[in-house]
Amino acid sequence: MRLGVDEVGVTELMGVTEHTRAMATTAAALLLDSLETGRPLIAPLDVPASGDVSAIVDEIRAWSAAALGSPDVPLLWRILARNPHYLESTWRKETAVMAAGALGAHDKRRVALGVAMAVRGRYMIEYNAAILRRSGDDDRDILEVLGVVDHYTTLNTLSEGMQIDSDIRPQSV
């Protein structure tokens, strides 16, 4: 990191990165093709839910209404709801990792979209793009995220292919 983000910001950035990568893996493992379609590996829980998960599902529904413009609970969360511990721990992590901190929430969401694109996680691409569009990003903004992903995939491929040693160090270290 070269532009003055402190250790808290770097750690938050890594949190968004690993969380999105893990979520993209989870969505792919569940055979979730997209937000709207697909035949998932595990059947989603019907909502309204009852019992152990009802409070969390209600919380996600309220979040979805605001962040996605839909009162429907996204499929991924309805599948995780089959295991209350899995659902609660993952949802709590999502809200913690993606909340504003040293980095802004919108910047974090753009990072999440970039990671989802980099790992080719279709469900998480649609998920994060939908949230960004709901909060004001348009096609040009989405394309700007993709441009960075595209260019760094180029640079990453070159540096790994040629085993280039890093010669760039953070100024503060």
């Binding site: 950035l13 990165t17 990568r21 595209d150 260019h151 990453n156 085993q163 280039i164 890093s166």
Partner: protein, 86 residues
């Protein structure tokens, strides 16, 4: 261990020199570099590739609506996701 000889910026001429000079100007401004970074030196063997990637770097990393920090955050995360240590 680098698998290719890194082109010495002091020995290049023509298009490669023009691009290396532009890269150094940019990198000095952004992160205080004192020499052309290895990721660009490794491309110096193929000037057309170097030029194409430098033009894309300018188009995608230096122009647009996002701030330099916003682009850098995405770039860093993508590099981690791609398991790139550079």
């Amino acid at each position: 261990m680098t698998t290719i000889r890194l082109v010495d910026a002091a020995t290049v001429t023509g298009k490669t020199k023009e691009i290396f000079d532009a890269v150094l100007l940019r990198e000095r401004k952004v992160f205080g570099a004192e020499s052309v970074s290895n990721i660009w030196r490794c491309q110096g063997h193929a000037p057309d590739l170097l030029e194409a990637n430098w033009n894309r770097s300018r188009a995608l990393m230096q122009r647009g609506r996002f701030s330099p920090l916003q682009r850098e955050l995405i770039a860093t995360a993508v590099s981690v996701a791609n398991a790139c240590t550079y």
